[in-house]
C-alpha cells in the first residue's frame, strides 16, 4: 500500500518530504489539505497532527508528523534503495550529515524563513511585506551564508563530497528564497551558488518544482 502524504505541493515542509520520497523512489499519494478553510486546525486532521501543521505521513498504521522526522523515517526504512541520503554504513559520515541537518534546522531555517514568509508566503495570503523584518534577517543570514561559503569551498556538499539529507533539507526554502530580491546573497557567494545549482538540478527536485509556486 502506498504511503499517504497529507500536505500541499507548494508547501515548504511538504516538499521537503516529497524530495526525499522521490530520491528514494517511494510510491506515495499526496492528499491535499485545505489550509484556506482551516482543515489543518480541526478534527480529523488534528488527530493526525495535534499541532495542526502539514505535512503528515501515513504508512500503514504509522502516522508521523514533523517533516525532518518523516524524512529520517523514509531514509531509514528505505536505506537499501535509492540515493544513500544518511550514509548509514559509515558512522562518521552519518554523523556529519546529522550535524548539517541540525545546522539547517537550528541556524539556517530561522534566518531564511522570515524572509520567505515576508516576500512569498505572506503576499500570497494578502499580507504586506514588512521590510523591517527582512532587513533584520539579512544580517544574520549573511553570516550563516558566509559559513556555508567557507564550508562549500572545502567540499562539494555540506556533509562531505556526497549529496545527503543535509543538502536535501535546504531545497524548499532555498528555492523560494531565490525568487526574492535577496537572491543576490546567494548569487554573490560562488560556492553556495554552485551548490544550489547542483542540488536544484537533481531529477527528484525537478519532478516537483513546477508546482512550487504561491501563484
Amino acid at each position: 500500500m502506498a504511503m499517504k502524504l497529507y500536505g500541499l505541493p507548494m508547501s515548504t515542509c511538504t516538499t521537503r518530504v516529497m524530495a526525499c520520497l522521490h530520491e528514494k523512489g517511494v510510491d506515495f499519494e499526496l492528499v491535499p489539505v485545505n489550509l484556506g478553510t482551516g482543515e489543518h486546525k480541526q478534527p480529523p486532521f488534528l488527530s493526525k497532527n495535534p499541532f495542526g501543521q502539514i505535512p503528515v505521513l501515513e504508512d500503514g498504521d504509522l502516522t508521523l508528523f514533523e517533516s525532518r522526522a518523516i524524512t529520517a523515517y523514509v531514509a531509514e526504512k528505505c536505506k537499501e534503495t535509492g540515493t544513500d541520503l544518511m550514509r548509514h554504513t559509515n558512522p562518521k559520515e552519518a554523523a556529519m550529515v546529522k550535524v548539517w541537518m541540525e545546522v539547517e534546522s537550528q541556524t539556517f531555517n530561522p534566518a531564511i524563513s522570515p524572509i520567505v514568509l515576508e516576500y512569498v508566503i505572506g503576499p500570497s495570503m494578502g499580507k504586506k511585506t514588512e521590510q523591517a523584518v527582512v532587513d533584520g534577517c539579512m544580517g544574520k543570514l549573511g553570516q550563516v551564508l558566509d559559513v556555508y561559503e567557507s564550508r562549500l569551498s572545502t567540499c562539494k556538499y555540506l556533509a562531505g563530497d556526497f549529496y545527503s539529507m543535509a543538502d536535501l533539507h535546504h531545497l524548499p526554502f532555498m528555492h523560494y528564497f531565490m525568487t526574492t530580491p535577496c537572491a543576490s546573497m546567494v548569487k554573490d557567494r560562488p560556492h553556495v551558488m554552485a551548490w544550489w545549482q547542483d542540488i536544484s538540478s537533481r531529477p527528484a527536485f525537478k519532478k516537483m518544482v513546477g508546482a512550487m509556486t504561491f501563484g
Binding site: F51, Y73, A95, V99, V103, S105, P110
Partner: protein, 214 residues
C-alpha cells in the same frame, strides 16, 4: 580516552549533551568555554564550530557540533548500552525523531525567546521585550496543552519508555521553572507535571544538577 565536551555547564545545549553522556555512562571531560569573554567567537574556536556556538565534542580526532546531532551520534555509537534511548525498532525510532523535532521546532524557540527576554537580556543590562515574552508564554500554553494530551496516552513522549525525545526537553524546562519563573506552565498540567517529575528525577539529571551547582 574521555570525550571532551567544549561548552559551559549552564548552557542548555551543553546540558543536553552532558545529560545524554551521563545516561549512557560515557566518560567525558567538560572543557569550559568562556562565553562572557566571547571565547566562542574567536578564530581558535571558530575553527571547530564556525557558527560560534557551544557545545562541540572532541572524541579522539573526531569532532562534532549541534547538540541534537551529538546525542544522536552517541546513542547510535553505544546502541548496546541503553538501546531504548532511540527506540527499539524503526517505528519507535520514528516516534522519537518526531518528538525530537517537536522539541526543536514547536517548543525550543518559545523557551529560548522567553529566557532571552526575561533572563539573559536583563542580566546584560538591557531591557527585555515583555510583550514578546508574554506572547511566547501564550503560545507555550497551547503547545503544552498538546503535550498534556499526549502524556495522557503514554508515560513518555515517544511511547512508554524514556528516550532522547524526553531528555532533550530537560534543559529548557529547567530554565522555564527556575530563572524564567514560569513553572506554573508545567505544574498546572497534571500529566506534563508528572512527566517532568519523573524525568528530572533520573540519576543522570540529578548528577548534572550537582555538577552545575544548582
Amino acid at each position: 580516552m574521555a570525550v571532551k565536551v567544549y561548552g559551559t555547564v549552564e548552557s542548555a545545549c551543553t546540558q543536553r549533551v552532558i545529560a545524554c553522556l551521563l545516561e549512557m555512562g560515557v566518560d567525558f571531560e567538560l572543557v569550559h568555554v568562556d562565553l562572557d569573554a566571547g571565547e566562542h567567537k574567536r578564530p581558535e574556536f571558530l575553527v571547530h564550530q564556525p557558527f560560534g556556538q557551544v557545545p562541540v565534542i572532541e572524541d579522539g580526532d573526531f569532532r562534532l557540533y549541534e547538540s541534537r546531532a551529538i546525542v544522536r551520534y552517541y546513542v547510535a555509537k553505544y546502541a548496546d548500552r541503553v538501546p531504548s534511548l532511540m527506540g527499539n525498532n524503526l517505528e519507535e525510532r520514528a516516534m522519537v525523531d518526531q518528538w525530537l523535532e517537536v522539541e526543536a521546532h514547536n517548543f525550543n524557540d518559545l523557551i529560548f525567546t522567553l529566557v532571552l527576554q526575561l533572563v539573559i537580556l536583563p542580566r546584560m543590562g538591557e531591557p527585555g521585550d515583555l510583550a514578546l515574552a508574554h506572547s511566547c508564554e501564550q503560545k507555550l500554553e497551547k503547545v503544552l496543552d498538546v503535550y498534556e494530551q499526549r502524556l495522557s496516552k503514554c508515560n513518555y513522549l515517544a511511547g512508554d519508555s524514556f528516550t532522547l525525545a524526553d531528555l532533550s526537553h530537560l534543559p529548557g524546562i529547567r530554565y522555564l521553572m527556575n530563572e524564567a519563573n514560569m513553572g506554573h506552565l508545567i505544574t498546572e498540567r497534571k500529566n506534563v507535571n508528572g512527566w517532568w517529575q519523573d524525568i528530572s528525577n533520573r540519576p543522570s539529571w540529578k548528577k548534572l544538577m550537582k555538577l552545575a551547582g544548582y
